[in-house]
């Protein structure tokens, strides 16, 4: 293992994430993992890692990382103004970086985007705990000491199999991505608790424009826009999934996300389909969204399509590869 990056600044939480711990849910451990699993998977593939390798999830704003050894990195997900030594760094592209260079992400640059993923060739070298490497904030384990990164943390990377130079300069094709957009229309399936809602609840959900509330984080988003007609204040605690829209007695839904508690006691009005969770993961407090009903068959088809996208062949690009070989200097044309 090799020292790869040093944290020089982390204004908002940066955590080590992978694809989480689904089988630990029965222990009360949130599934966790990347909020935008597509972006994490692709960042890893671009640098030659297994898709579930540990990488950084950088929430909008204020990240500064010093490169400590020659390495190939890729940043995917939100455009947070990534720069390498004050020059724009192309997203969805693997880039060779050298010791002493400074990687910075500043703020959202487009109408959408909340979380960027930074993968490094070899993967972040952190211990496997309960079957995965990601940070469990609820359990205070995983990642770096079970907490968000802080100043002067040094991140280690695993061994790279093959030649670093050949990993650089690979760009993900734009036509094989989720439909990232501002004000997204998010597909939902009806939830399992229809008898606990008035019949109008699903229509009210899909006819309202919702705003992501200030009290929103990796556990879930509070949504404002309407009071859904819920008839039952609480039900026997039951297992939940990311994407579930649970409705407390005030009628304002809570959209459960990656770090949600494993069980809940509020009725679930609807569930966001898996293929649309990356779009939801890229929303910030104040952003708007709508919900649109779909069918289970379409939800599975969308999942299959996104899964196929995530496995796309990465095209060889001679010009980009040459840039990779030349080091990280002239990235301008793609910034």
């Amino acid at each position: 293992m090799t020292a790869a990056l040093r944290v020089l600044g982390a204004d908002l939480p940066i955590t080590v994430q992978d694809l989480g711990r689904p089988t630990a849910q029965r222990f009360g451990v949130p599934t966790g993992g990347a909020m935008d699993r597509f972006a994490l998977t692709v960042a890893n593939r671009l640098v030659g890692n297994p898709p579930d390798a540990a990488a950084l999830e950088i929430t909008v704003g204020g990240a500064a990382l010093e490169v400590l050894s020659p390495v190939v990195v890729a940043i995917t997900g939100a455009d947070l103004g990534a720069e390498l030594d004050d020059r724009a760094l192309p997203l969805w592209t693997s880039v060779y970086v050298r010791p002493g260079q400074l990687l910075q992400l500043t703020r959202r640059r487009r109408a959408w985007g909340a979380r960027a993923y930074l993968a490094i060739a070899g993967g972040l070298d952190v211990p496997v705990v309960l079957g995965a490497c990601g940070t469990s904030l609820a359990g205070a384990f995983g990642g770096v000491d079970g907490r968000p990164l802080r100043l002067d943390d040094i991140l280690l990377r695993g061994a790279v199999h093959g030649d670093l130079a050949t990993l650089a300069g690979r760009r993900w094709p734009e036509d094989t991505m989720p439909g990232y957009v501002d004000n997204p229309a998010i597909h939902v399936l009806p939830g399992p608790h229809r008898e606990h809602f008035e019949r109008t609840a699903l229509d009210a959900l899909t006819e309202t424009e919702w705003t992501v509330g200030a009290a929103s984080n990796r556990m879930g988003y509070r949504l404002a826009g309407a009071a859904l007609p819920v008839k039952t204040a609480s039900i026997a605690s039951h297992g939940v999934v990311a994407g579930a829209l649970q409705v407390p007695p005030d009628g304002a839904p809570i959209l459960l996300m990656a770090d949600a508690q494993t069980t809940g006691g509020y009725p679930i009005v609807a569930v966001v389909v898996g293929a649309d969770l990356p779009l939801v993961a890229q929303l910030l407090p104040g952003d708007r969204l709508r919900f649109r009903r779909t069918t289970a068959a379409r939800a599975v088809a969308a999942w299959r399509a996104l899964d196929a996208h995530a496995r796309s062949r990465i095209p060889e690009d001679a010009a980009l590869a040459a840039l990779g070989l030349a080091g990280a200097g002239p990235v301008g044309p793609f910034g």
Binding site: Q25, R26, G139, L189, H238, V241, T262, T263
Partner: protein, 227 residues
């Protein structure tokens, strides 16, 4: 419960395209021995595409990979299991003893609970220690066990004002159940005592002291003893 109870009625409903919620009526702890039995059967069976099982009070969440199996396939697996399901029996469970220091700084709500119930604090302790309770499920936080039901006497509502931090090991009562805080956490249950046992250790296998279907018995430590 269990042997003398009647078999529950079941519903199987989708929770998105990658999970089914198998829910029992009555939706009370009375159905929990059937949930434990179903959880164990499915754990043995490991149907293709299954990714996780999450026991609830009266339900089991069955998560699956929709690219490897279909909801309908799993429902067809579940149907005969549910029809022939025998409840998990208390005689089959392992019983874990939980030593507790009740009252004082360890159980700041013991006096208030006793006052609420109109009995002496010692009676609350005696009742809490009087029997083996089943662990119904884990949830809320890593390793937090929902245990019960407790007696009518101990069935107090949640505290009007939740605490922002409850010490690790706190033994608590609320909503007809008892629980143990595995870590320092915010909490709305009444704290009647504290145990020194570690309920969650992510480096251990399994990581939790207790699992759904276990039995627990609380034992009062004498004053001055270490919890």
């Amino acid at each position: 419960m269990g042997a003398e109870g009647t078999a529950p009625r079941w519903t199987v409903r989708a929770v998105g395209e990658a999970a089914l919620l198998v829910a029992a009526k009555p939706d009370t702890p009375a159905s929990n021995p059937y949930i434990t039995a179903l959880y164990r059967r499915l754990t043995e069976l490991q149907p293709p595409g299954l990714t996780a099982l999450v026991p609830g009070i009266s339900s089991l969440l069955v998560r699956f990979d929709p690219l490897q199996t279909a909801a309908g396939t799993l429902e067809r697996t579940l149907k005969p299991l549910l029809a022939g399901l025998e409840p998990h029996r208390s005689g089959q469970q392992r019983v874990i003893i939980i030593p507790v220091r009740y009252g004082g700084v360890d159980g700041p709500d013991l006096e208030a609970v006793a006052a609420l119930c109109g009995v002496a604090p010692a009676e609350i302790v005696a009742d809490h220690c009087s029997k083996v309770y089943p662990v119904l499920m884990l949830g809320f936080a890593p390793g937090f066990p929902y245990i019960g039901p407790v007696s009518e006497l101990l069935s107090v509502p949640r505290r009007a004002t939740p605490r922002s931090a409850v010490p690790a090991g706190s033994v608590a009562l609320a909503a007809g159940l008892t629980g143990i805080y595995p870590a320092r956490l915010p909490g709305g249950w009444h704290i009647i005592g504290r145990t020194a046992l570690q309920l969650f250790d992510p480096s251990a296998d399994p990581p939790t002291l207790l699992a759904a279907g276990d039995g627990v018995r609380f034992e009062a430590l004498a004053d001055g003893a270490q919890p």
